[in-house]
Amino acid sequence: MIKILYVLRCLLLILSLIVLPVAAPAQLVIGQYEDEAPLRTWNSFGLATAASIGRGETMLAVADDCSAALTNPALLASLPRLTLSLNGSYSRSTLFRYSIVNTGVLASDKNLGIGLFALDFGGLSFRLNGWTLAITASLSEAYDRPQADVQSAYAGVPYASILFRQTGFLRTVNVAAARKIGGRLQAGIGLNFVHGELGREVKDEYFDNGITISHRIDQSFSGFYLNGGLLARITGRLDLALVFRTSYDRKSKNRSKLRYQAPFAGTDILIEAASDDLYHQPCAAGLGARYTLSPRLRILGDLVYIRWSEYQVDYFGEREARDFGPAFKATVGGEYISPVRLFKKQAVVPLRVGIGYDRQPMRHPESAYAILSFGTGLHWRTFGIDVGGQAGRESGSGRGLEVMRFCFSLHIRL
């Protein structure tokens, strides 16, 4: 009975996480991309929590927590009977060219950065009659951009201003099931519901005649897709994983309000539009490997391929051009388990390190991030905390864009 209440409380916590607004701008300097480009990388595949971040985002062949449901649900069968996980992160990205910034209207001579704090993952997994089930919610993508609010002045007197603002996110709610098949194979499948929004505003104001020109675009997204995976124990030391994510149509309800107001003359011109559009998201597949060198040391490697060439954008009834080709992300990481004693009990401190190469889908200019990661944690009895950080630098665009991310995870394992 106590256990049931405990589980119910945990479920309540997870549900509240799902409905909370999870991203909040932490730092707003000026910065760049396509409007719908997720911050950091196009190649989001599930969500990396602190442990996998520490190993360079390797996560296809090892189950750190129930976030595995988003990448390889088969791993859920490796988890203890009941697990609860929360992940928070701070990420910072620099951008150069986005929307009206550095495309002709507002100019900057340096890259512009934006930071986001987010409680970006919460989930629960439990075992039932040989099946492991999980429900998780994650902030899978963020579309915020550095805000621009610029005033023009003549002889020290401001006469006009221009404002650019964009915020947005995509959340994924995943329900997954996994099972062991014999002694060497695990299989899992997940159903993912995505929903999110994107709001963009550009506003010109002319102070001397009171003229305001504003353009507000609001989009709301929804869709669903399947993901799944297999984990096979090839030898006592080597595990291999295969994963997939189906392509899907992310529906987008779009509304636009373009307005010209000159109150002194009574002029108010409004051009409105609404449209049901979609972003056709590509399918993805991945291969993961885990090799156990010793009981304390293991190395991992992941390769994820995303067929961005099938990506399509319909925006207010028109097909938008995106010159994208297939992209991939390759990561390698290692983990050393160091045993310690804490309050006279056995505990472990994992030490993690990893590197990654994240090729972006744009054909021109070619662009890729090289990523270095590190992480550690403390696992004590049923509790665990993990921290991980990564820093990446982009090459190809000539702007040397940077990304970094710090994560903090809490786990309960029963």
């Binding site: 929307s99 009206i100 550095n102 495309t103 002709g104 209207v105 100019a107 550009v202 010109d204 005649n209 003229i211 020109i213 353009h215 675009i217 779009n254 509304r255 636009s256 373009l258 010209y260 000159a262 002194f264 003359a265 002029t267 011109i269 051009i271 409105e272 539009a273 609404a274 449209s275 925006y315 207010f316 009834g317 028109e318 097909r319």
Partner: protein, 438 residues
């Protein structure tokens, strides 16, 4: 008795309109891809016999007319069979886009590049005998710059007056796409029924390029409404060349009528005709022998003519003035809106490297910049309400027809010698008439 009859007729017509509207709504829901119009054909025994085998979608008969639901292919069939018809779509609200439904482009009733491309292709398909769509060049971002030629025997290059209408050198001037496009539509759709239009089409070759700056227009729609220039990435990292300062006549005459600064709104580019968009216009001009040119801009409601680079009048000031005065009068008569007129440098501000100075400078033809409404910034500046598109076009239509007609009338007087001299000038040889010497 006749009043009762009229009332019954009106009710019947209302019922027919409601019925057709319902049918069109159903039709729209089922197959939204092809745009259909309603046209009417005179109901005479001879025409009825010719209509019968064409397999058209006859809606109903009313007041000695047969109403037909017609797509581009059907209109082509009617043209091919020389069956005159009248466009009647405006009587059927279900056919016209309703702002209440709020469906469609982010720019409302205004054309985007893709919408314009589709509509121009539709016009050509629907009127193949009198319309031909040409790609006169490619923009920096590889969009096509279209020009629609409208003339009888459109495939032939006839000895006829040629007139050129241009639109949207400046991206934010959305209304300047609509007016030339609607002019093309009007000429094609009223060819069979309007004697003045028929004369214009039969006796001249009208060239209409409604969108000279497609890249800029797209940026203006997607990102920043007040974008003016094209999308050239300049050496200093700024974007855009002002296409209407990039023509080759007295280009860079001074730094007041254009700017050498890439970031400036009136940046003239690195060289005359440095931009593919202006080269497209130049190359069309070199191939043809235009007798008049109109380039639409906004705003300020004024008809401008050369010179723009200097306040000194041209040697054809009287002709320019007289044509502009007549056009202004015709325009005012439609909606009561007065379009001022005068030499560009005097009536507006100094400009060098603009379209009309170049067209007049090298070809000696009447060349007008028509700055469309509103009259000032407080009235909307570069914004026009969607409901103003049709009135603005309507008041510009008689001026356009007038200029075409003037070209036809004066075509005979356009001496071979003059043409030869002009060809020399276009090719960079010989003297330029009226050029201000400094």
């Amino acid at each position: 008795m006749s009043a009762v009859k009229r009332s019954a007729k009106k009710r019947l017509l209302a019922l027919a309109i409601i019925g057709v509207s319902c049918r069109l709504l159903l039709f729209s829901a089922a197959a939204p891809a092809e745009k259909k119009d309603i046209v009417s054909v005179e109901k005479t025994p001879r025409l009825a016999a010719r209509l019968q085998p064409l397999g058209l979608d006859l809606l109903f008969e009313w007041d000695n007319k047969v109403y037909i639901l017609a797509g581009p292919r059907d209109l082509r069939t009617l043209d091919r069979n020389h069956i005159p018809y009248l466009m009647e779509s405006n009587k059927f609200p279900a056919l016209t886009s309703s702002p209440v439904l709020l469906q469609g482009g982010i720019n409302g009733d205004y054309h985007s590049y893709l919408e314009l491309e589709a509509d121009l292709q539709d016009l050509e398909r629907a009127h193949p005998e009198i319309a031909r769509l040409y790609t006169i060049g490619m923009s920096l971002e590889n969009r096509k710059i279209y020009a629609l030629k409208i003339s009888d025997n459109v495939a032939l290059d006839e000895e006829e007056a040629e007139v050129l209408f241009l639109g949207c050198h400046h991206a934010r001037e959305w209304i300047s796409v609509e007016v030339p496009f609607l002019l093309a539509k009007h000429l094609l759709e009223n060819y069979a029924s309007d004697a003045a239009v028929r004369r214009a089409v039969d006796q001249s070759e009208v060239w209409i390029a409604p969108l000279i700056n497609p890249d800029g227009l797209e940026y203006s729609i997607r990102f920043y409404r007040y974008w003016r220039k094209n999308r050239r990435l300049n050496v200093d990292g700024s974007f855009g060349v002002d296409l209407n300062r990039n023509y080759g006549y007295n280009w860079a005459y001074d730094n007041e009528g254009s700017s050498p600064e890439p970031a400036a709104e009136v940046y003239r580019g690195s060289a005359p005709f440095s931009e593919p968009e202006t080269r497209a216009v130049r190359d069309l001009f070199l191939e043809r022998e235009f007798q008049a040119l109109v380039t639409y801009h906004s705003y300020s409601q004024v008809i401008l003519y050369p010179w723009g680079y200097t306040p000194t009048p041209t040697d054809k000031e009287a002709l320019h003035w007289s044509l502009a005065a007549d056009m202004s009068m015709l325009m005012e008569a439609v909606n009561g809106r007065l379009y001022g007129f005068g030499p560009s440098a005097q009536s507006s501000y100094l400009t060098n490297g603009d379209t009309t100075d170049w067209a007049f400078g090298v070809a000696g033809i009447p060349a007008y910049t028509i700055e469309l409404p509103p009259v000032d910034q407080l009235g909307g500046g570069f914004f026009n309400a969607e409901r103003d598109i049709t009135p603005v076009f309507n008041e510009n239509l008689p001026a356009a027809l007038y200029l075409i007609n003037w070209s036809i009338v004066n075509f005979g007087a356009f001496q071979a010698q003059e043409r030869e001299a002009r060809t020399d000038r276009l090719n960079g040889r010989g003297k330029v008439p009226g050029r201000h010497q400094n």
